[in-house]
Amino acid sequence: MGIVKKLTAKSWSAENSASDDQHLSAISPHSSKIGLRLFLAIVTSLFFLVVAAYKMRMDLADWVPMPEPDLLWYNTVILIASSLAMEWARRAARRGQAQTVKLGMMIGGLLAITFLVGQLVAWQEMANLGFYASSNPANSFFYMITGIHGLHILGGVIAWTRSMARIGRGDDEDKIKLGVDLCATYWHFLLLVWLVMFALMIST
């Protein structure tokens, strides 16, 4: 049933009881997936607002573009690779190849951690060049955006350790599959966010 039809149903009438139990479609996705999607919507709202603030702040007189350490490009490549590894693991999980799953997850997670370290080094580089958070607004945003994004990655890494523990314990296959799936979705999403943020920062 389409959403419009659902929301216009005259639910008091007897005719309506025919469709009583159809609110659950036959293959309703797992609640965790719905929960994750919802969370991604919230994070989207968060970064959307950051972008809006960035744009408004940019229009003010004291804006100067920030330097772009090359390292950020390498970090971006690492994050892409991490996402690809996750995707590889997810596909393997669908095919039931436990070894590949383990390998893919391992690579994906470690690359994400590498990315985090890389971002910290980028902070260090910026600071060494004398660009502190308070030096100019573009820098302030740089530190804030990378910080918030990094914290989200960190949250992902924590979830990833739990999934890894599951894999290590050789837990129930469905649970592993679900965990891998959630991780991959989250990784792709954060990659996308990073690409948008990175594009925003280097283009201005």
């Binding site: 719905i34 950051v50 603030a53 702040r57 003010l60 607004p137």
Partner: protein
């Protein structure tokens, strides 16, 4: 055979408690979490109530209370406002009522992520503790006003600009984390865990209100989160997101280039939906109170649902009506005045439908009904003054006067509180198995309803006179006549009486817990699902071995042809003509597979 969850819906892994600690402290049962949320919220709410009494003392009898000076006054204003809006109302409606009602009303065993739900309440407690800590740090809590506008909020010259503001911002960020964990649960539970037969349009309006309000919260709180982080950075490491070149108290500061207006946009992008985060659950709950106690279906159910959804959507495009005189681009005024007044239409329809529910009904003057009636009067009063403030040009003389204070107290202070009271009188028997004391309740109602009206109705007129808000003292202002000062004293007396009577309510809740009349199951003869649990109060897991099956909407009162005055949602239509007493356990007919 009663309904067992279909294979595609994973059954919840209920965490069965065995010790006192896991049962009442680290509990994952949504009902216990709801009570925990409510107790914490009411406790901080009392702090805010005391603060309001202190402010009123100063306003009504200026200079008589030595310990209230301009700085402490502003700290009281700020903490009062923030606690009431966020830590009391938001937490109580969503964390308290949302947690309790959603699974029961949807026919679920619990929230879908019980562990996260438990974390939510403890993180909320943490945010409250951080907030309260600001009373004890050097300089005291922040006095920046609940809107926390920079640059003022983080500069010398505002009380609490050293520690108070930092703790406030940190506490808000922590609160948002708590809210997000809870909110993911409420929304996902409504989407995923409704029992068979509980279609969207069969959900009680309480669930609709809480559901949409939670979505609003999840999307709007990020704005407060971002602006809070940015202000913290401005304050702590000296960035200039919101800070232009400033000479504060004779000294040039290290800031430059930022925009205070940017903060206001972010703040109100959160702040306006926040009004509806409080209002929509109240709308929903009051609809159910009216319906049950008037023994009639809610009038125009579909319109009520659509109105909630439309109001929720529109609430994201009206934020700058709080900024008409903020110095933003004045052309925005046209857009935001129009959107704001458009919201008035679905809101007015809700009011009409509430009164039309009472029309041709069979009204019991129970306590919840009295509070619901009180709500309608208060809300209509506060709603129409919103049209003054929304119509951009009329806002110009009124903004930042006592008119605004009167308006928002009516519409998002008193009105939702009346609903909360009504709801507590209504659901207390379900939570505890006992009724609240009726006599005390009546007294509580009359004093609260008439008292708050006496506080806030005349206050609008102080706004017409031009009395500004957030003023410690009006001494020496010539255009404010003595009569207005006398009115302020009268308002203070009313406020103190109202404040004290709330203690009676607290006493009633404690007294009735031990001594109240036993309610038995379903004392109000309500049709919605939460009253149809096998045990009252419901036990862990809510529903016994099988989940209930739902055959109808939540408002089948006085159905033509039915034997009883009400038909519970889990009563098959085929049973309407017969006795309903045995329905709960009877086998459904083939029609209902």
């Amino acid at each position: 055979m009663d309904y067992v969850a279909p294979a595609e819906v994973e059954d919840l892994e209920l965490h069965d408690p065995d010790t006192f600690i896991t049962k009442y402290v680290w509990s994952q049962d949504h009902k216990v979490i709801a009570v925990q949320y409510s107790i914490i919220a009411i406790a901080v709410g009392l702090v805010a109530l005391v603060l309001s009494g202190l402010m009123r003392l100063q306003l009504g009898f200026p200079g008589m209370f030595e310990f209230i000076n301009p700085a402490t006054y502003l700290q009281f204003v700020t903490m009062h406002g923030m606690i009431m809006v966020i830590y009391l109302l938001t937490a109580l409606f969503l964390g308290g009522f949302g947690n309790y009602l959603i699974p029961l009303m949807c026919g679920a065993r619990d929230m879908v992520f019980p562990y996260m739900n438990m974390l939510s309440v403890w993180v909320y407690l943490l945010s409250v503790i951080i907030l309260m800590a600001s009373f004890f740090v050097p300089g005291g809590p922040t006095g920046a006003g609940w809107t926390l506008y920079p640059p003022q909020a983080i500069l010398q010259g505002t009380p609490g600009s050293d520690w108070g503001i930092i703790l406030m911002l940190v506490s808000l960020v922590v609160f948002i984390v708590a809210f997000t964990m809870g909110g993911l649960n409420y929304v996902t539970t409504v989407l995923q865990a409704r029992t068979r037969g509980m279609t969207l349009m069969r959900m009680p309006l309480s669930v609709w209100g809480i559901f949409i309000a939670t979505i609003l919260g999840l999307l709007a709180f990020p704005a407060l989160f971002v602006s809070g982080i940015m202000m913290l950075l401005d304050r702590v490491i000296g960035t200039s997101f919101f800070m232009p070149v400033i000479i504060s108290l004779g000294q040039q500061l290290d800031y430059g280039g930022g925009s205070p207006i940017l903060f206001q946009h972010l703040f109100w992008f959160f702040g306006h939906p926040e009004v509806y985060i409080v209002a929509l659950p109240a709308f929903g709950i009051v609809s159910d109170l009216l319906s049950v106690h008037a023994r009639r279906h809610i009038f125009g159910y579909r319109m009520m649902v659509w109105a909630i959804v439309i109001i929720g959507g529109l609430s994201f495009v009206v934020w700058a009506h709080h900024m008409y005189v903020s110095g933003m681009n004045p052309w925005f005024g046209f857009f935001f005045a129009t959107t704001t007044l458009i919201i008035a239409v679905p809101t007015a329809l809700k009011v009409y439908n509430w009164t039309l529910t009472l029309w041709k009904a069979n009204i019991n003057f129970t306590l919840p009904m009295l509070f619901a009636i009180g709500f309608i009067v208060t809300f209509v009063n506060g709603g129409i003054t919103g049209l003054f403030l929304g119509n951009v040009v009329v806002d110009v003389p009124l903004s930042d006067t006592m008119f605004v204070v009167a308006h928002f107290h009516m519409v998002m202070g008193v009105a939702p509180l009346l609903v909360i009271f009504g709801a507590i009188y209504h659901w207390y028997p379900l939570v505890t198995g006992r009724m609240l004391h009726e006599g005390m309740g009546k007294f509580h109602f009359w004093v609260t309803f008439l008292g708050t009206y006496a506080i806030y109705f005349p206050m609008h007129y102080l706004g017409f006179v031009g009395v500004p808000r957030r003023y410690y003292d009006y001494e020496g202002i010539e255009f404010i006549p003595q009569s207005a000062r006398d009115l302020n004293s009268a308002i203070t007396i009313a406020a103190l009486i109202v404040g004290v009577v709330q203690l009676l309510f607290i006493y009633n809740m404690i007294w009735s817990y031990f001594k109240g009349k036993k309610s038995g199951p379903n004392p109000w003869k309500a049709a919605s699902l939460e009253w149809q649990t096998p045990q009252t109060p419901p036990v862990h897991g809510n529903w016994g071995p099988n989940l209930p099956l739902v055959y109808r909407w939540a408002y089948d009162y006085a159905v033509p042809g039915a034997k009883d005055d009400f038909c519970p949602q889990n009563q098959p239509r085929s049973a309407d003509a017969g006795s309903s007493a045995m329905v709960a356990g009877s086998a459904p007919s083939a029609e209902d597979n």
